[in-house]
C-alpha cells in the first residue's frame, strides 16, 4: 500500500475510525451508535452541539483545540437541536484549525433543499435523511477510509522530499497536490437517499 518506511505518524497505525455522533434524541443516539459500531467504528456520542465542542476542546474562543492528541475521523450531527444547531456546529468545526479537515455529515428528518445547500456550501461532507440506515453508514465509512488513506499517502509522499520513492506501487495518477478534502466537497448536488 503506502510507502511504509516513510510513514512517521504513529496514529496512522490504528485502522479503526473514531466517529463523534451528536444528537439530542436518546433513541437516535442509540441507533446511530449501533449503526457505527456494527460498521467497526469506535463511537463517542454526545447530546448537544455544546457538548461536542467541549469534547473537541473547542469551547475556548480561539478555535484551537487543547486536545492535541484527540483523533476524530468523522463527525455526524443532527441538524435540529436545541441550543447550537448542527449547522452552527459545522461552522465552528470548519473555523477551527484543529478539526477543519474532519468530514462532517449532517442528519435531518426534513428534506429541505435550502437547508441542504446551506450545509453543503459550509463544507459538510454529506447530508443524510433520517432515519439513517446501515447502507448510509457503510457508504460514509468507505468515503472516510478512502480520504484517510489518501491523506496518509499524501503525507508519506511529502514527508521526505529529497528521497527517491522506490516502492511506490500505487503510482501518482490518483493524487495531485491539490487533492485536499476541502477542494473535493464543494458540490451543491444533494446526496439524499430515497
Amino acid at each position: 500500500m503506502a510507502v511504509g518506511d516513510l510513514s512517521s505518524s504513529s496514529s496512522s497505525s490504528s485502522t479503526e475510525l473514531h466517529v463523534l455522533a451528536v444528537d439530542d434524541s436518546l433513541v437516535d443516539r442509540k441507533v446511530i451508535e449501533r449503526l457505527l459500531r456494527i460498521s467497526a467504528c469506535k463511537v463517542t456520542t454526545v447530546e448537544s452541539g455544546t457538548r461536542a465542542l467541549q469534547y473537541l476542546g473547542l469551547d475556548g474562543d480561539d478555535g484551537s483545540s487543547d486536545l492535541k492528541d484527540l483523533k476524530v475521523n468523522l463527525i455526524v450531527t443532527d441538524y435540529s437541536m436545541p441550543g447550537l444547531t448542527g449547522y452552527e456546529l459545522l461552522k465552528k468545526i470548519k473555523e477551527s484549525s484543529a478539526f477543519r479537515e474532519v468530514p462532517v455529515v449532517i442528519m435531518s428528518s426534513e428534506n429541505i433543499q435550502p437547508r441542504i445547500e446551506q450545509c453543503m456550501t459550509e463544507g459538510a461532507e454529506d447530508f443524510l435523511l433520517k432515519p439513517v440506515r446501515l447502507a448510509d453508514v457503510k457508504r460514509l465509512k468507505e468515503l472516510i477510509i478512502r480520504s484517510v488513506e489518501a491523506e496518509e499517502e499524501h503525507k508519506a509522499k511529502h514527508s521526505c522530499p529529497n528521497r527517491i520513492l522506490q516502492n511506490n506501487t500505487r503510482g501518482v495518477s490518483s493524487l495531485d497536490d491539490d487533492d485536499t478534502p476541502s477542494s473535493k466537497r464543494m458540490k451543491l448536488e444533494s446526496r439524499v437517499h430515497v
Binding site: S25, L26, V27, D28, K30, V31, R34, L35, I38, S80, P82, S109, K130, P131, R133, L134
Partner: protein, 154 residues
C-alpha cells in the same frame, strides 16, 4: 404450543403489523442490527422510545391545556416524537405527528387537541403490539428456540 408453532405465530404477527402499517421498514433495519453480541438491541431501543414518548405526551397534554397555548413549546415536542417514532419504524405515530405539526403551524388549538388524541391512540396501539411481539419472542427464547429472521417477501 410447540416451538415451530410459536415461531410461526411470531412471524405472522410481525407480518400483520407491517401490513397494517403500524410498523415500517425502519423496524426491520433495527432487527438487522441485533445479533448474538447485542441480542436485546431492538427491545432496548423500543424501551427508550416508550420512555421518551410517555414524557413527551405528558408535556404535550400540559402545554395544550394552558389558557394560552404556546406553540413554540408544542411544536418541538411533536417534532421530537415524530423523529423518534420514525427512527423505530412506528409509521402511524409518525404520520399522526406530521398532521399534528401542520396544525401547530396554523396555530389551530382545537385541531391540535384532536391531533394529540390521534397520536396517543396510535402510540398506545404500537406500544401494545410491540409489547406482545416481545412477549412472543421471550416465549420462544425461553423454550430454547431462536427468533426467526423476518422474511421480506410480502
Amino acid at each position: 404450543m410447540d416451538l415451530v408453532q410459536m415461531q410461526k405465530s411470531l412471524q405472522d404477527y410481525t407480518k400483520s403489523l407491517f401490513l397494517e402499517g403500524v410498523l415500517d421498514s425502519q423496524f426491520l433495519q433495527l432487527q438487522q442490527l441485533q445479533d448474538e453480541s447485542n441480542p436485546d438491541f431492538v427491545s432496548q431501543v423500543v424501551t427508550l422510545f416508550f420512555q421518551d414518548s410517555d414524557r413527551i405526551l405528558n408535556d404535550l397534554s400540559l402545554s395544550l391545556d394552558q389558557q394560552v397555548v404556546d406553540f413554540k413549546k408544542v411544536d418541538p415536542h411533536v417534532h421530537q416524537l415524530k423523529g423518534s417514532s420514525s427512527s423505530i419504524g412506528a409509521q402511524r405515530v409518525k404520520n399522526a405527528c406530521v398532521v399534528f405539526r401542520n396544525f401547530c403551524e396554523q396555530q389551530n388549538v382545537e385541531a391540535c387537541h384532536r391531533c394529540l388524541q390521534q397520536v396517543k391512540q396510535e402510540y398506545y396501539l404500537v406500544k401494545n403490539r410491540l409489547e406482545t411481539l416481545f412477549k412472543l419472542e421471550q416465549q420462544i427464547v425461553a423454550s430454547g428456540g431462536m427468533i426467526p429472521a423476518m422474511e421480506l417477501g410480502f
